[in-house]
């Protein structure tokens, strides 16, 4: 997993609320047993016409936004299914951060474990960013700052998620470091259960 520090890119805006993970990556593409190549199917029902050609109206097909690394989306992004294929697909396509006024819990959790930065901003900041399609943006995770068109604002992020993203670490090491505690917990629990059965 690549560490996330600073990102300077352009914004791609998808001003649609409640974008669910079925739209991000359809169930047709969950049949793989690895994580590879999902970017080509990102938003496939919106990105491609019935004929299989690019839909010229879709934002990620447009010249000015097709290489954007930040997605600004409508409220409640990533709702629905727990499929981690959604952040895998976004990252594989080249998206490194998603900004919205709210982001669904499981999607947000999954993103952090893969180095995709989910940022929740206030309603006003959200409105501002929704109006900045194709404009440059800078995200500074160390200082938790977003810079766009002369506006600068701070964003909140859960401290451990920030730590993991900055260091490019998933959270398994954190758990493995506590294996002795886990063993203690299990012994204690098993003892209680045995006592309880007698």
């Amino acid at each position: 997993m690549k560490p996330f520090n600073k990102l300077a890119t352009s914004i791609a805006v998808i001003d649609i609320e409640n974008i669910d993970t079925d739209q991000i990556i359809g169930s047709d593409h969950l049949k793989i047993t690895n994580k590879n190549g999902l970017g080509q199917h990102l938003f496939s029902d919106w990105r491609f016409l019935g004929s299989g050609e690019d839909n010229p109206d879709f934002i990620l097909n447009q010249h000015v936004t097709k290489h954007s690394k930040v997605l600004v989306a409508g409220d409640n992004f990533g709702c629905g299914s727990s499929r981690e294929h959604a952040p895998w697909a976004l990252l594989d396509f080249g998206i490194q951060a998603v900004i919205s006024s709210s982001i669904a819990d499981i999607f947000s959790n999954n993103s952090i474990k893969n180095g995709l930065l989910p940022i929740q901003v206030s309603k006003e900041q959200h409105q501002f960013l929704l109006s900045k399609n194709a404009k440059p943006i800078e995200i500074d995770l160390v200082n938790q700052l977003i810079n766009c068109e002369g506006e600068e604002f701070q964003f909140d992020i859960e401290s451990f998620a920030r730590h993991c993203l900055l260091n490019g670490m998933d959270q398994l090491d954190f758990l493995m470091d506590h294996l002795l505690k886990i063993e203690d917990y299990e012994k204690n629990k098993d003892a209680k259960e045995i006592a309880h059965e007698v």
């Binding site: 969950l30 047993t33 669904a104 451990f160």
Partner: protein, 463 residues
């Protein structure tokens, strides 16, 4: 100190408490897995040369990619394609390698993961349960803390039997009163989601309680908890009571003998204390709820079946569905009816549907699929004569699985077809590209199947 049901289970499973800098480490009692979200997690174990820590607490089944058609004469399966077959086979290989109990395709204990967990007695009150599937909230009906996780966390659970978690907030939903004729648990949860919204419970664990919930069977409670995620909730839960204990008694994995009595005594302590405060709270009058259907492309876009589609600036969704504001959907022709999924594929769902199919025929323009949630349910429905009612009516009586809820196994609808579905999600393309899903109860779905159109199911039920 007064606590909510959630708080009690949370505290009991803390290996490490959360701090400013680090999340809590939460111990997991039961890990359920299926073929779609587990292969990469098994691979992670291999890549890191790790063992699966507690195979005894891990249970697997295949349900998403499995065919629901009959097997061939030689016993082979009609997979939709090679990928589906490979995924199902990979689960078998993985479970053998890591010593996990698998209820494989063809096994009499196989079925939808959220149906067989409770059915086998694996799901028990007070447990923490995770599964790489958002509808894991279903198991909360037993007074468990059960939630969906991604594949990374499936891997973490394999390796450590724990996941890192920040403590969620709590949301009390009190539901009182008696349901009207023709109204089901599905209508109750659709009405709740319509009221609080698809993101209305984000960051929260819902506890459902009140007289309506007390009177619900376990099947009804599972339908309610199942769709908690459709309001964005981390989990949904209901305190266990005699109904829960009666359901679990003598199931395969339920405690037996003396253990049973001591466990039940522990389980009885699992309820929210008088005076405990939820972070959010609403009250619902169940008596006001009518049969519900959805008209749009997420579960919050619901109406009472006779109501007009509201004016809410939902143009994108209505264009997709081919509907318009102020339109009344009664009389709208339907193409497909799907009765199944982890929301509504249990025996009581099939019984109420069968009451409507009995002595009637599926409309000639409708394809009706009935997909039981498990082999156990299928067997029971066949014994009770329910299956025969479906078959005689001209419906397809299929093998268990997730089937047309998400169409991974090839059970899909065609572009612009309207499907009345007892599943949980009406997202764009969920049941097939361009397909139009209307969520409803098994009664409403069955009434549509025999009428060929959307109808008020109360017309089919004697007062």
């Amino acid at each position: 100190m007064v606590n909510t049901l959630f708080d009690k289970i949370w505290q009991h499973h803390l290996v490490i408490k959360e701090t400013q800098d680090t999340p809590a480490i939460l111990y997991i009692d039961t890990h359920l897995i299926h073929e779609v979200t587990s292969p990469q997690a098994f691979q992670m174990l291999r890549d890191n040369r790790l063992k699966l820590r507690r195979p005894d607490k891990t249970f697997a089944t295949s349900d998403h990619s499995t065919p629901t058609s009959q097997t061939n004469d030689d016993g082979s399966y009609n997979y939709f394609g090679e990928q589906e077959e490979r995924q199902v086979n990979q689960l078998k290989i993985n479970c053998e390698e890591f010593g996990v109990t698998l209820f494989p395709l063809g096994d009499k204990k196989q079925g939808i993961v959220h149906v067989i967990g409770p059915e086998r007695g694996i799901t028990q009150p007070g447990q923490t349960i995770v599964c790489g599937d958002s509808h894991t909230s279903t198991h909360g009906a037993f007074g468990a803390l059960a939630f969906g996780i991604g594949t990374s966390e499936v891997g973490y659970t394999f390796a450590t039997q724990c996941i890192p978690q920040r403590k969620p907030k709590t949301f009390g939903i009190e539901i009182n009163g008696e349901l009207q004729r023709g109204v089901t648990a599905k209508d109750v949860i659709l009405a709740i989601i319509q009221q609080i919204g698809i993101g209305g419970a984000t960051g929260h664990v819902i506890e459902y309680y009140g007289s309506t919930i007390n009177n619900f069977s376990m099947d009804q409670r599972m339908t309610i908890c199942n769709m908690s995620i459709e309001a964005g909730a981390r989990a949904g839960m209901i305190a266990p009571d005699q109904t829960t204990f009666d359901y679990l008694k003598d199931r395969e994995y339920s405690p037996k003998g003396k253990d049973w009595h001591s466990e039940v005594n522990e389980w009885k302590k699992l309820s929210t204390d008088q005076g405990a405060i939820f972070d959010k709270h609403i009250q619902i009058d169940a008596g006001q709820i009518e049969p519900m259907i959805t008209y749009g492309t997420n579960p919050q876009m619901g109406i009472k079946i006779g109501e007009k589609i509201p004016i809410k600036n939902e143009e994108k969704a209505l264009n997709y569905m081919g509907f318009s504001e102020q339109e009344n959907l009664l009389g709208k022709p339907v193409d497909v009816v799907f009765i199944g999924s982890c929301t509504n594929s249990r025996i009581s769902d099939l019984r109420v549907a069968a009451n409507i199919f009995e002595n009637r025929k599926v409309s000639k323009n409708v394809r009706a699929l009935i997909v039981p949630g498990s082999h156990e349910i299928k067997r029971q429905a066949e014994e009770e004569g329910i299956a025969k009612i479906f078959i005689d009516a001209g419906a397809e009586w299929r093998e268990p699985g997730c089937s047309m809820c998400l169409g991974m196994n090839g059970d899909i609808i065609q572009e612009k077809q309207i499907c009345i579905s007892t599943s949980n999600r009406n997202f764009e393309g969920r049941q097939g590209k361009g397909g139009r899903t209307i969520l409803a109860s098994p009664i409403t779905a069955a009434a549509a199947a025999v009428s060929g159109m959307i109808v008020d199911p109360r017309e089919f039920i004697n007062p």
